[in-house]
């Protein structure tokens, strides 16, 4: 990404953004609600044109429907996808965009089986998605995203509404496949703690400004206070990061750590 600027209506979400994600690199995207985290993913998916600058992927400008970009969308309670079985959700990722009816085939069944195996979802693959836990649903989503053999994985709040154990399982699953397959990861999250041990770098978006660097460089009181233009304290305790005083962000953090205590 070079000198990228994104606008939503009259509002500039961010500008002058330079970001490189190397193969195998794990980058967490943090920031307040409405700071343009999801829009960043949309821009990389070619769904949201930039106001300025450019995004290149594997040497070419990004375009819609690139199979080499895997996408794990934000979980919504009432997706129509909840009604189908787990393996059918994964299958959509295998050949869902192709024309024709897609008659049953042994090759595709083997492909889907392999993906289910890779995310440890084999034993509940025939159960409708709506009956599964949030963590099990996320595994299926990851399996679906792996179907295109991605070079880059975009994850939008994959840990939202998961309990702490499921958060760890899901983030470790993504990290394991990143290491094995060597794809880059852009991981949008409002809580960095579950992935703190995995992230190579952090992109922090707030108030139209941003900062990129390692977690230690970015997650400091000085940097975040400057980003938010307000008094923000970063407290590090027992290997966890707690951000206090960030407008419309602190609330989430408190909630999470309340749950952890």
């Amino acid at each position: 990404m070079r000198d990228a600027e994104l606008r939503l209506g009259a509002r500039t979400l961010w500008s002058g953004l330079d970001l490189d994600v190397a193969p195998g690199e794990f980058v967490a995207v943090l920031g307040a609600n409405g700071s343009g985290k999801t829009s960043l993913l949309r821009a990389i998916l070619g769904q949201h044109p930039l106001a300025a600058g450019e995004i290149r992927f594997a040497g070419e400008p990004v375009h819609r429907g690139d199979r080499r970009i895997g996408y794990v969308p934000q979980q919504r309670g009432q997706d129509p996808a909840m009604r189908i079985r787990g393996r059918d959700l994964v299958r959509l990722g295998v050949d869902g965009e192709r024309w024709g009816p897609g008659w049953p085939s042994a090759a595709r069944r083997a492909h889907v089986d392999g993906l289910l195996e890779a995310v440890g979802a084999t034993h509940y693959a025939r159960v409708p998605v709506s009956l599964l836990s949030g963590g099990e649903q996320q595994r299926l989503r990851i399996g679906q995203a792996l179907a295109g053999d991605p070079l880059l994985m975009l994850c939008d709040e994959p840990l939202g509404s998961l309990d702490l154990r499921a958060q760890r399982v899901v983030s470790e699953l993504i990290d394991r496949h990143r290491a094995e397959r060597g794809f880059g990861v852009l991981f949008v999250t409002h809580d960095v703690n579950p992935v703190l041990g995995m992230v190579d770098r952090v992109l922090y978006l707030a108030g139209g400004r941003f900062r990129i660097g390692t977690a230690d460089e970015v997650l400091t009181s000085e940097v975040l206070s400057e980003l938010y233009q307000a008094e923000v304290d970063v407290i590090r305790t027992h290997g966890r990061v707690i951000i206090v005083g960030a407008p419309d962000h602190s609330h989430h953090e408190h909630e999470h750590h309340g749950g952890a205590a």
């Binding site: 769904q47 996408y71 189908i84 990722g93 965009e97 009816p101 509940y124 159960v127 009956l131 836990s133």
Partner: protein, 289 residues
């Protein structure tokens, strides 16, 4: 009481009637296949109410076709496609779509009633557009019905995978480059054709019994992407052909037989699904444990 019974079920001279009305039975079979197939997407895309709206405007088109001598079939297709396009273009979100449908529906019905009131011809033809007919299907009528249903089935087969993707998982489908919006319009047009075909057999008010009830029943007892469409087609086929066979000797329109059979199938599926669900929840619990 026995008069009623004879009006409802009269199987004397059945063989002769059967030979005479085999066109109706073929028409029912063709419509069953197309209706059952498209019904699956009507359910997953949550379009049941839109189907009803399209059918009222299709009725208006048919009535206008009758009045102006353009032809019932041509009129109903024009009305259907117009309604399907309006709903498809203006209502991409469920809430907008419902309000647009609710606005179109009484307008279409009123327009149709106006055209019928001005039409000087036979009353049974008028009534038939709303509640279905008993009349035999002649060869040209069967021909166009088969053509329209063929277009619907072939069209669905071509867009099957991307349409499933876009219906079930729109965000990831869009990320994968599926033309979600374009497919939605294509689907609405196919739906308009299916509605126009259904109206000729069961009437505008009862279209849902073919385009929604069989698929709803199938979804009750299966979530397999292969079995749901197959079952839905089988249910629609049984309802239509069974209804026509029962109605042959009676003096009552086909529609009450069709709607009753399709409702009974749905009822059986609901009962069956209750037992299945208990078992499934158990399985899911074991898996989680």
């Amino acid at each position: 009481m026995s008069d009623w019974w004879n009006a409802l079920f009269d199987f004397s001279d059945y063989g002769a009637l059967l030979a005479l009305l085999h066109n109706s039975i073929l028409a029912g079979a063709v419509l069953g296949i197309a209706g059952g197939l498209i019904g699956v997407f009507v359910m997953t895309r949550d379009l049941a109410f839109a189907v009803h709206g399209i059918s009222e405007l299709s009725f208006a088109g048919a009535a206008a076709g009758l009045l102006f001598g353009v032809g019932v079939v041509e009129g109903s297709i024009i009305g259907s496609l117009a309604a399907a396009l309006i709903i498809g273009l203006l209502g991409s979100r469920a809430r907008e779509r419902n309000s647009i449908t609710a606005v179109l529906m009484p307008f279409g019905l009123g327009l149709g009633i106006l055209c019928l009131a001005l039409y000087p011809g036979r009353a049974s033809t008028k009534f038939g557009l709303l509640t279905g007919q008993i009349v035999a299907v002649d060869d040209p009528q069967l021909g166009w019905l088969a053509f329209v249903c063929g277009v619907v089935v072939l069209g669905l087969l071509v867009v099957w995978r991307p349409l499933s993707f876009a219906s079930l998982d729109p965000e990831v489908a869009a990320a994968r480059g599926v033309p979600v919006r374009g497919l939605s319009i294509v689907f609405m047009l196919l739906l308009g054709l299916a509605v126009a075909a259904s109206i000729q057999i069961v009437g505008a008010l009862l279209v849902l019994s073919i385009l929604v009830t069989p698929a709803a029943a199938a979804l009750r007892i299966s979530s397999s992407p292969l079995w749901v469409p197959l079952l839905s087609m089988a249910f629609a086929l049984v309802s239509l052909v069974g209804g026509i066979l029962l109605a042959l000797g009676s003096s009552v329109p086909i529609s009450p037989y069709v709607t009753t059979i399709s409702f009974l199938i749905w009822g059986v599926c609901v009962l069956a699904s209750r037992r299945r669900k208990d078992r499934r929840t158990l399985v899911a619990r074991e898996v989680a444990a």
